[in-house]
Assembly symmetry: C2
Homo-oligomer: 304 residues x 2
């Protein structure tokens, strides 16, 4: 099985590759060779190891997005400044490779100067979401380690704001004093809802609400499932309180994993906001496919 072209989602922790044909996705494969564990010289071998079975006689285009394009990545793909379209095929950055069977381009991330903000990888998901929803105007939310809220108008990213929400959840639930009260992986929907309500109503009290999870565990029998779910709710609720300008009265599209988008959809539903949900993988592939469609144009010859 050969690929016409290969889409690559190369983040800090994982490397995911998708073999694409005219009919769409043919195969996918994943490794833990994330950007964070590779030196510049190790990127090409890590990629070849993963995609070699898909390479044929000719040159197979590989389009990558994510932290692979950061300064600490394979090759820096300098940020483009918003407002702009999330991804422009002609502006992908070519990477010199030794293996003649591939040519590689990396999608540049986006930056915003005021307030300062950056994204890498999400721009491709946004481009994909726009490809799947042509003419979309409104807000996109990409929950994750660094959750993004994005205002889209006329095919461009007008502005965006990043929240440390996912990373905060990971730190508090596994590294802080709160970890003692939230072992396991269980869940409690009512506690999540209560956390969202509290986080939205009193976002400024977050540092106190966090300690209260510990105190209730010690003196009020708060269980681990409820504590973890309320922590998640508190953080998502605080994010929604601060991102109201994005979602209030707007069309909202969520792009992410089923688990995370489900939580955000539930929290937004409590605010009478209905959302559409797209899978992150589908959007990444659609975004890179949009870029791949221009690979034969002269403008991208620089990639060779």
């Amino acid at each position: 099985m050969k690929a016409d072209w290969i889409a690559v989602d190369w983040g800090t922790t994982n490397l995911r590759a998708f073999a694409m044909g005219p009919e769409g996705l043919r195969a996918e494969v994943m490794s833990e060779d994330g950007m964070g564990r590779l030196t510049p010289a190790e990127f090409e071998p890590a990629l070849i190891r993963l995609i070699e079975p898909w390479l044929g006689q000719g040159v197979t285009p590989v389009l990558a997005c994510g932290m692979v394009g950061s300064r600490q990545g394979w090759q820096e793909a300098p940020y483009r400044s918003v407002p702009c379209a999330p991804l422009e095929p002609g502006q992908l950055v070519p990477v010199p490779v030794r293996d003649g069977r591939i040519r590689v381009e990396i999608a540049p991330g986006l930056k915003q100067m005021r307030p300062a903000d950056v994204m890498r990888g999400e721009e491709t998901q946004i481009a994909g979401a726009l490809a799947l929803h042509p003419g979309f105007d409104g807000a996109m939310c990409l929950p994750g380690t660094h959750s993004k809220w994005v205002q889209i108008s006329a095919g461009e990213v007008v502005s965006f704001q990043t929240f440390l929400t996912g990373e905060m959840f990971a730190l508090f639930s596994t590294q802080s004093v709160l970890r003692h009260g939230m072992a396991g992986t269980g869940w409690d929907e009512a506690a999540f809802d209560a956390g969202v309500a509290e986080g939205m109503a009193r976002p400024e009290r977050l540092a106190a609400s966090l300690f209260r999870l510990r105190a209730e565990g010690l003196i009020a029998d708060l269980g681990a499932d409820a504590a973890r779910a309320r922590l998640s709710g508190l953080l998502i609720g605080a994010e929604l309180a601060a991102s109201r300008a994005y979602w209030l009265g707007a069309r909202v599209v969520l792009v992410g994993s089923a688990a995370l988008t489900g939580l955000y959809a539930r929290a937004l539903a409590a605010q009478a906001v209905t959302v559409e949900t797209l899978a992150a993988k589908d959007c990444t592939i659609a975004g890179l496919a949009y870029a791949a469609g221009a690979l034969s144009k002269p403008v991208s010859k620089a990639a060779e």
Copy 2:
């Protein structure tokens, strides 16, 4: 050099002991035998190792406060419920010991049911601050890993609220993505002030303000000293925004390390709040001295 009695501040990370005589503090010593690394059977040997040079012919009273009295400590000293005096000599909890040269009592912590909150160790500092400022009415703030705001009236703790501020600073500055932009130990006062102002004005945006530190490091040349100081300011500012009911128009006493109380005093001065500052060590010793004063009373014979 022998001690009349010994004050012990036994936290999660460190064990500090103070040899006390009629004139006050005679000597002090410290080890890293914190509660967190000891099993119950290891507490007495760890204590004896540290204080043995101070023990004489008779029985030397040892009064301890802090996490040593938690469920995971040497012996649980159950929380007392507020409103109540921060420390009552007759209610210290005796600990059975093998070594006949000492008798040991542990100060119980305080709990508040609504909103749920707990403290261990700070109650002793509060009692000490009250011993140093008899008749004090107003707010006390004890900044630290888990910063406490406390309302004091008529010698009692009326209510209190804990903020995860110090632990959040440690996590974000050393464990999160922000650590890449705040190496070293430098400081930038203007950046701290700006962080306080932003944290107080927009506490609900904390998760976004945090990520902005990273983004400004990447695209706007934010330096490590400024990033670390602004992070500190953001967190302290958010704490002040949420604790306004405690300090607004109140007498405020800060109890803690010189470095931390200095930051809080500076942040509060920007709100036209003047504070008095007491050193945590002085307050711990004064609080335990207050408890020690009752050691000869019949009520504490239970300790023998």
